[in-house]
Amino acid sequence: MGKRDLTGSRIRARRLDCGIGQATLARRVGISPAYLSLIEHNRRSIGGKLLLDIATGLGVEPVTLSPGADMLKVDALNEAAAGFPEAAAGPDDTAQFVGRFPGWADLVVRQHGQIRSLSRLVETLSDRLAHDPQFAASMHEVLSVVTAIRSAAGILTSDVDIEPEWQARFRRNLYEDSRRLAQGMDALVEMLDTGGDLTGGSQSLLPAEELERWLSEKGFHIPELEGPQAMSADELLEQTPQLQRTPALRAFSRAYLQRYRRDAGRVPMNGLMRAMAQETPDPQAIAAELGCDLACVLRRIACMPAESGIGPVGIVLCDASGTLVFRKPVDGFSIPRFGAACPIWPLFQALSRPMAPLVQRLDPAGPRLDRFVAVAISQPTGGTSLRQPQTFEATMLLVADDPHSGFSRAMFSAAADPLKVGSGCRVCSVQDCVARREPSILPGAGGDERGAGHIL
């Protein structure tokens, strides 16, 4: 019902706009008023000559009555309505609303889009405020200096006599601290400026963020490291000034590029693309056929070129402490930048079941209707000596629902019942979540006392 053709509703809206009676229009077109009524209530499909006649009878261009772009509006409105079930804006009414009030529908769709992008910004900034070590250090510096200034000023302005030597000392402290405060504020403002523009600037980015930005520009696919003529990771690094800005970025990037090249040697892209083009591609079967591990295949799938047609996929890696160490974002699935992710994710479940693959349908909390399948596995890493502790790394591939992708269809048919997940507790709307560790900042989303009890 929600996606039916809305031509009838548009005809009715135009007719009422023109002040033409139903019987009058029916007579002009040469059909009965009862039949026009069925058309106007979208109970009869319409096209061809009759549509042209009705447009002529209304004195409008036929294209203004045609179906098409309204379907996108219906989808967007249904998505907006799903976020506010208490508003009782059911999908049965959506088509009528779009057809009869196209301007208002357009407004709601635009506002919904705006709310979505603002929510993403809030999510990212909240994550940054809570977990970004650079931001925390800057805030701590500013608060410390303000405290010192306040104390010194309080002493100097008190009624009690202060010896000249102490007066001089606190005046000097005031002078030094006011300079430090100015510098600290400059750094903070610069950081917040960059934080507001989440796609620009690199002054305060962490190495992982800078590498992610470079990879994003390449679509996470690096042709220079693929195939028999692949260059070495160090050669590519030398040719890429964006990855050499700081020693930390350089080291982080080298480790990533080295692993990428190793993966490319074990799972050549041509073979992977052939395997993924089969009717029901299965990463585990591909791993078995190539004699490599599943995590390696998942990483290779995540860096397949866009033209491969596998549809949108993302990937997240974490170490055994649960710290996210790498992420390729995918639209519709929020991944926090600085850790503190949703403990329900199969990524973390996999850590408790090493070597056992997990396939799970995930429905992200929130107003969007995106659906994903996660394929996750935890595998041992390092451990070259019995005297060293065994470490683990978990990998989770995120496959978006894409009816045009055989891989997406195969994964959705293999996945278990959907699981509602969030990005992280602070920005998650799921109520009564067994894994909540802190209250949400979202209104009405479990922002009670419960979460605080899990901190220790």
């Binding site: 608060l143 303000v146 405290t147 010192a148 104390s151 002493i155 030094e176 802190e438 220790l456």
Partner: protein
């Protein structure tokens, strides 16, 4: 009660100001700035009270507080926590770990004096 206070704070100008106002009020103040050796400083100075910053170099003030409370000799020692982390969860954590008082930065001199006077006499 001993009116000696051990001030564990790594920001020298804050330490200097707090020491000044407490000494003017009649307290004896020793200063220490490193988290890793803070417990040793407590054992050495035998203060009647500790003023403890949370974000210290090498060791968190929360960890130090936890160890102070786990030691019979210092389990009842008054501890005033100073921190720039003013969120409710930090305050809850400090109180659960056994803090006697909790003050967030930026504080006033009067805040510190009032809290200290409530915990030990000059």
């Amino acid at each position: 009660m001993d009116n000696r206070i051990l001030l564990i704070e790594d920001e020298p100008n804050i330490s200097e100001a707090i020491r000044f106002i407490l000494q003017r009020d009649g307290y004896l103040v020793d200063m220490h700035s490193d988290g890793a050796t803070a417990l040793a400083a407590v054992a050495q100075k035998h203060p009647g009270m500790v003023i403890l910053d949370v974000m210290l170099p090498n060791r968190s003030g929360f960890d130090i507080l936890r160890d102070l409370r786990a030691n019979d000799a210092t389990a009842g020692l008054p501890v005033l926590i100073l921190t720039a982390r003013g969120q409710d969860k930090d305050r809850d954590l400090a109180m659960r770990l056994g803090a006697s008082r909790f003050i967030t930065k930026p504080f006033s001199n009067a805040d510190v004096l009032t809290a200290v006077r409530e915990l030990i006499a000059p």
